[in-house]
Symmetry: C2
Subunit: 224 residues, 2 copies
Amino acid sequence: MQSETIENYLKTIYHLSGGNASVVGNKQLADKLNVIPATVTEAVKKLHELKLVVYEKSYGTRLTAAGSKIALTIVRRHRIWETYLAKELGFGWDEVHEIAEELEHIKNDKLIKKLSEKLGHPHFDPHGDPIPDEKGKIRKSNFIKLSEAKVNTSYKITGVTDHSPAFLKYLEKHQLIIGALLSIKNVEAFDNSLLLQCRKKEISVSSKAAECIIVEELPVQTAA
Amino acid sequence: MQSETIENYLKTIYHLSGGNASVVGNKQLADKLNVIPATVTEAVKKLHELKLVVYEKSYGTRLTAAGSKIALTIVRRHRIWETYLAKELGFGWDEVHEIAEELEHIKNDKLIKKLSEKLGHPHFDPHGDPIPDEKGKIRKSNFIKLSEAKVNTSYKITGVTDHSPAFLKYLEKHQLIIGALLSIKNVEAFDNSLLLQCRKKEISVSSKAAECIIVEELPVQTAA
DNA sequence: TTATTATTTTTGGCAGACCAAAAAAATAAA
DNA sequence: TTTATTTTTTTGGTCTGCCAAAAATAATAA
Ligand SMILES: [Mn+2]
Ligand SMILES: [Mn+2]
Ligand SMILES: [Mn+2]
Ligand SMILES: [Mn+2]
């Protein structure tokens, strides 16, 4: 079977290519995987041999169907574990990623099946990221970044794109957690910071933070 | 931190030395670890450098206090996971060992703590093996092998020493599972097979099987 | 378009974990 | 106590996954 290293390469290529099998560069991969570009060059050559990616010299790498399939099972394992750790074992959403980075490499289909079953086959992990099903299919949604949302419209937080403990703890402190309802009161012209209305309190968030928060527009409230 | 390989060596040395830090040979280790003796020679030299074992050339290897401590944390992780898989996720006792062989290498103390907590801090795994506590201490018991048990005495099955799916399935078929009560009716002289009385049925088990079943003598029934 | 910067590849090396075959040492049999 | 057998070690090699430094390419800026 494939090594942990291969799994991490495929998963990272998947993430960097934004799910749509577009080409990713060597440096990019090297940074995410904490290796030097020379190491990546060797690795992608090997993955090419294995027909898991198409690697074009001095240009870049993209997943093949076979590589994509493996990547999606790793992503599924990762997100199922994150959800399990949070929901069943009481870990915080800022803690689960690190542990899942290890657990995602446990090769046992039945195990993931049981975990998923116990969770009621969830479609989203604790960060709002979609969980691919057994076949690798992902529920697509029309979520947008908070930074792209309209003023004076109601939204629900559905996810985050930065999984760092620092950011997640920051959000938690301000109760900007998944499911929270909010609307944008005002966009500050000079730095694009947002003034949010959220459960009766006004909170100001930087444009950088707003880039990392995913929201869903809510249907307008019809008067009773 | 130490590699998976090192963890497996230490755990295997621990098991082969019967818990009491006695010396284990190279061939022995090689057989358990599915490598050739030459590989073991190299490995134990390195472990010696790391002060995790004392390796004496052409003689054998035994754990140091430091090595023993690591071995016990691996054994703890293994058995906690086995118990968790069986109790919380519904795996059969013949399935858990293989998965735990992988899970035991996940390095996260809090994870094991949570699992143990959820299980109510169990002292025995699904095979009846004792689970070391956080400090590595093991509850010692006065269990004996069924093959050493007396005729016409009541016993309870508390464990098995063979964890192979074949053996475990065989036991399950005859309901010789942990907790089952039995007594020995007769010992066949010529092959040492045992005739057991167990829940109203008589079952004959080979001496080989009896070697692998652990029992506890029950206090004699006082008349009501 | 040339010069500068960034990315990618090549080359040579290293550590961990393994094996095969041969030599040495220890054990068991005769 | 020799001889045979088993165990252990040595030696030379492989494979994976990594790095450092230098050379080649590509992309950007001037
Ligand atoms: Mn994650
Ligand atoms: Mn996630
Ligand atoms: Mn086991
Ligand atoms: Mn066990």
